[in-house]
């Protein structure tokens, strides 16, 4: 039996907790993440893109530079005045890329948050209860899983009109079935652990068990999927905008920039190169980040 060596006398929980602090799990995970070089590269690239997107209003003016036409300066190749050149209407491409980042990231993340909410509820319920409820929910999801993401989003926009909010919701709903699957399998992985049964044995209600015991232990795989699906969402937005059903010009979006630059591609490749590279690096960064998170959070490596 261990000696129950106690600390100096205490009266409250606070004092005691101050003496024996919790080990910071996040800190350890952060250190492990840092060891993965490609993941760090992904994080760095992503942070740059994020910083640029956030700082957009300070970098350049929306009205004067991004949307204002300037025919005199159209189709200029990259140079001193315009680092990425100008497009077919004389607008500075760099400024448009920067603002495009804002749109892509904002809608991309918001859409995935919508998916996550739906996925947590549906996937969590299906995974926890199993049986008939699981079959019902999952067969419902299967119907939507058959359709490509773009098509689903398209259908919703066509039905409800093309606004930013609708676009967010459309993409969010389009990705929900995938998320439900991810949440469901994560929940099923956790559900069979004895501590879940233990929670039941001490009288916890299902609601509490799911919220406090099941979901917190599923965070790992879910976070990984969030990062990867944001990448997909951004691609979907670009695809929709490219075919004219997403963000409409003159609002800059990488997809619609590719679309409008298509005709000039041969002689003025810089017009499509910039948005293309932007999409490429954003997706790359998110994928590297997601893979890095997966490696860091893999429970097998923990012990």
């Amino acid at each position: 039996m261990e000696a129950t060596a106690s600390a100096k006398p205490f009266t409250t929980k606070k004092e005691f907790y101050a003496q024996f602090k919790k080990k910071s799990v996040t800190h350890e995970l952060w250190l492990r993440f840092l060891k993965n070089k490609t993941a760090v590269i992904g994080l760095v690239i992503f942070c740059i893109i994020l910083a640029v997107a956030v700082a957009a209003p300070w970098i350049t003016s929306y009205d004067n530079v991004v949307v204002k036409m300037n025919i005199a300066e159209r189709l200029q190749p990259p140079g001193a005045a315009h680092w990425f050149g100008t497009d077919e209407l004389g607008r500075d491409i760099l400024a448009r890329i920067v603002y495009g980042a804002r749109i892509s990231l904002l809608i991309g993340f918001s859409a995935i948050i919508v998916s996550l909410m739906v996925g947590l509820v549906l996937g969590g319920t299906a995974g926890y209860y199993g049986g008939k409820i699981d079959s019902l929910i999952m067969r419902g999801m299967d119907v939507f899983l058959c359709l490509p993401d773009v098509l689903l989003a398209l259908a919703i926009i066509a039905a409800f009109g093309n606004t930013k909010v609708n676009l967010t919701i459309a993409i969010g709903l389009a990705f929900s079935p995938k998320f439900s699957r991810v949440v469901r399998s994560a929940v099923m992985g956790v559900r069979d652990n004895e501590y879940i049964e233990a929670a039941r044995s001490i009288g916890a209600l299902d609601k509490r068990i799911i919220a406090r015991h099941v979901l917190p232990n599923c965070i790992g795989p879910i976070i990984v999927q969030v990062t990867l699906y944001v990448a997909n969402a951004i691609l979907t937005i670009a695809a929709l905008s490219f075919i004219g059903l997403g963000i409409q010009p003159p609002t800059p979006e990488w997809g619609n920039m590719l679309a409008s630059g298509r005709t000039y591609m041969r002689d003025f490749p810089h017009i499509v190169l910039a948005p293309g590279m932007a999409i490429f690096f954003t997706i790359l960064a998110l994928n590297l980040l997601g893979d890095g998170l997966r490696d860091t959070l893999d429970p097998r490596l923990k012990h």
């Binding site: 060596a5 600390a7 009266t11 024996f20 501590y195 049964e197 232990n217």
Partner: protein, 320 residues
């Protein structure tokens, strides 16, 4: 002492599987007196784990009665049953999966107290957690540690503290020391015995390890393929087993001795299937004392000697 705390009558748990009906627990009946320990032994597939969970209604029984302190548990609704859970707790086998990896041990031990609303004041509750940690021999400085920072023995102590948090009368111990090293097993068993003495707890001790159950239990029940085949006080069971399976089981225990070794009784064949079993003695195929009647009728559980029950055609009820 002497008061019957738990009475199980004709308890059955059947599972429906593709191949038919799996008789996990088949018509099991026994009683446990307050403050005593009943050991349930058997090998894989005998149903002892299912039995433990069914008694607590963590798995819903198919039929039968579970009388705890006079109340039939099957008649209680969900919230009444949750209330009852304060008196009936469980200690799990695997110290690695029975604790939530994201909760500190203080949070794990505190949760039952919180849920039952027994101590509303946060500081007082905290004191109770410390008290429980002391009871199970965990140093106070471990209060904010996570399960993965502790070894198996300490984790199991956390599980015990959690089970004790609501001051239960009855604890089902599902192979509580099987996953631990031998030297740690002894520590935990001694701890559990001390707790029983000090708090008057009744244990249902489930295990496959016969030497441990002998040491720890007052009475022992042997299970085979879902049925109770023998029940007797520990000393009697070990010295004068009546059922051929019990005899084989006892003789199979590896003995850490090189002199006075006995000849092993080896069983023929393998376990028969618990799915759609025939109404004959389920041990007949492997029994070296099998008679003709054994392949025709399922033997009932009878009291062959005072307080010594057995389900075997070789024995007759007392006084007949």
């Amino acid at each position: 002492m002497g008061e019957i705390l738990l009475e199980v009558k004709n308890l059955k748990k059947y599972f429906h599987v593709a191949a038919g009906t799996l008789h996990a627990v088949d018509d099991v009946s026994f009683t446990i007196e307050e403050g005593r320990t009943l050991g349930i032994v058997g090998e894989s597939g005998c149903g002892k784990t299912t039995l433990g969970r069914t008694i607590l209604r963590l798995i819903e029984p198919t039929s039968g009665e579970i009388c705890f302190n006079g109340k039939d548990l099957r008649k209680l609704n969900k919230s009444e049953m949750r209330f009852m859970r304060r008196e009936m707790q469980i200690i799990f086998q695997d110290p690695y999966s029975s604790l939530n990896p994201r909760k500190t041990i203080a949070e794990t031990i505190e949760e039952p107290i919180l849920l039952a609303g027994l101590i509303p004041d946060s500081d007082k509750r905290f004191m109770r957690v410390l008290e429980l940690m002391g009871t199970v021999g965990l140093a106070q400085r471990l209060i904010n540690t996570y399960p993965h920072e502790l070894d198996g023995g300490r984790r199991q102590r956390v599980g015990i503290a959690r089970a004790l948090a609501m001051n239960p009368k009855f604890i089902v111990c599902d192979e509580p020391v099987s996953s631990l090293d031998v030297s740690i097993q002894a520590q935990i068993l001694n701890l559990m015995k001390t707790i029983q003495r000090d708090m008057g707890i009744t244990y249902l001790f489930i295990t496959h390890d016969l030497s441990v159950v002998n040491h720890f239990s007052d009475d022992i029940a042997v299970m085979y393929l879902g049925q109770l085949v023998e029940k007797a006080p520990s000393e009697t069971l070990f010295q004068k087993p009546l059922h051929p399976y019990t005899e084989a089981l006892l003789s199979a225990i590896p003995v850490a001795r090189i002199h006075n070794r006995h000849e092993r009784i080896l069983l023929k064949g393998e376990l028969t299937s618990p799915i759609n079993p025939e109404p004959i003695c389920r041990f007949a195929e492997r029994c070296n004392q099998c008679m003709d009647i054994c392949t025709k009728e399922d033997p009932p559980l009878i009291e062959a000697r005072p307080n010594h029950f057995v389900a075997c055609h070789l024995h007759k009820p007392m006084g007949s």
